[in-house]
Symmetry: C2
């Protein structure tokens, strides 16, 4: 039973992720949406869906130009379960780039702000200096990460760790590092797109849990993602698992940074992501 | 003569960096400033000063709480030399964190947007997983990077490269990577603070120049910096050189990502930074 999705998924229903990021226009620059129980975190919704909702407002906006290349989300206050409003404005549109200012509010209070850069991309010389992990076992050869005791959103992803899974127990045995390598995809499977990739960039558990193996209150304050893939590369990836790598950068005085890359299963870098996270000692 | 600063520096005058980031309040949330010739780039001002100006508006704002922990700047249009306006609003102030929305405009048009997170930090368990470079020669043992043919802002920094300096000639001999390691400080020397550290996070030349050794038009579209140091650590660093490390992450379809860390000379990580840069093939 532990492997069952959070709620039955009927093929004729929208995918739970699409329900979580659904937005209804309420004005020229405003949309309404609501958190979904499937993506609930310990308090409020999974932060990855908040990223995806904000990005989705720009993706769906009639003034949209091109595809996202950069997204920064600042988590200003805990979101409550329930309805929210998104404000999305193209503050500057150039020939091939467009800059968005976005915010998500509840009861008239800003809970998250975001900026996004969209661009019309064209083929150029290309090279990747970041290195994908070596000797990564196939997804099929790894067990799905346990769901027991995890918040609901974890059931919305099929995660298969080769290294650095969430500790089964918090035994306070501090580790030398907080690296993780895992295969991950939406559960149930869903073709990869910019919104789901933005959310996947936030599936990496807080590095402090991996490193210290003890619970502490945490909360991301800022998350930035760069998209290296275009829509065609995402479409080619389809529903298959992507490869995520995450690590801690530094932990100090109540804040830590973690960084991550998401690779396609054919070795192409799809996105990179950094976040700064508050922690209580 | 190549080692002379761009203009004579008189100890009783403000440091050129302070002149470049100077802001005069013009309203509750607005400031005016002007680009300075000393920090001119090939077109408009050095992007690092734009970061520092935007951060400075929050630093100087009467509502400011704590110190910066995160800063994202989106470069929406080329800045012209001359006057600009900065708008700085604390969109949410919590007990220990504060979220800022910032923008820089010229002639009523937005040229850059930014967000910043400020925080009251307190001592906690700390660890650094990122590794400082090994076998870095002392700053004094390395020559200052040549200034000939460089834009004016380069003269405002004393840079001493151990690896990956700007090519003296663009011979189009593509390199296997674009890593750089250098000692850098303001020239003339100036005690390190959050504004100058934000600017130093953008002194790393565009990685595509290092990698391809050929000129191509480029422009940063988004830059994010996390501050791991508090004010006391910055004060302890003083005017001494900091150690910068930069590398390319990926170059594809008109955009590349580069990442960097800035270390104090006693091995403490002061800041990390990522940017996404447009390039023309």
């Amino acid at each position: 039973m532990a492997d069952m999705p959070h709620r039955p998924y009927m093929p004729h229903m929208p995918h739970p992720f699409d329900a979580a990021i659904a937005l209804a226009p309420t004005g020229e620059h405003t949309f309404s949406g609501a958190t979904q129980a499937a993506y609930a975190n310990m308090v409020g919704p999974f932060g990855g869906t908040t990223c995806a909702v904000l990005l989705n407002a720009a993706l769906r906006h009639p003034q949209r130009l091109g595809d996202p290349v950069a997204l920064t989300v600042n988590y200003a206050a805990a979101l409550a379960d329930g309805a929210f409003t998104v404000d999305a404005r193209a503050v500057r549109t150039n020939r091939s780039t467009q800059h968005w200012s976005l915010s998500l509010s509840q009861h008239g209070e800003v809970c998250a702000t975001a900026s996004a850069v969209f661009a019309l991309r064209r083929p150029t010389w290309s090279a990747t200096e970041a290195a994908p992990p070596q000797h990564m076992p196939d997804a099929a050869s790894l067990p799905r990460a346990p769901l027991q005791g995890r918040p609901p959103w974890v059931r919305c992803y099929d995660m298969r760790f080769a290294e650095g899974g969430m500790p089964e127990r918090f035994d306070a045995q501090e580790q030398a590092h907080s690296r993780s390598r895992l295969w991950v995809r939406d559960e149930p499977p869903r073709p990869l797109d910019f919104a789901s990739l933005a959310a996947i960039c936030d599936v990496f558990f807080p590095r402090i849990f991996i490193r210290r193996r003890r619970f502490t209150p945490i909360g991301t304050v800022s998350l930035s993602t760069y998209f290296h893939a275009d829509a065609a590369l995402l479409a080619a990836q389809g529903e298959r698992h992507v490869l995520g790598c995450a690590r801690g950068v530094a932990f100090r005085d109540g804040y830590f940074e973690q960084s991550a890359e998401v690779w396609g299963d054919r070795g192409v870098l799809l996105a990179s992501s950094q976040q700064l996270v508050y922690f209580k000692d």
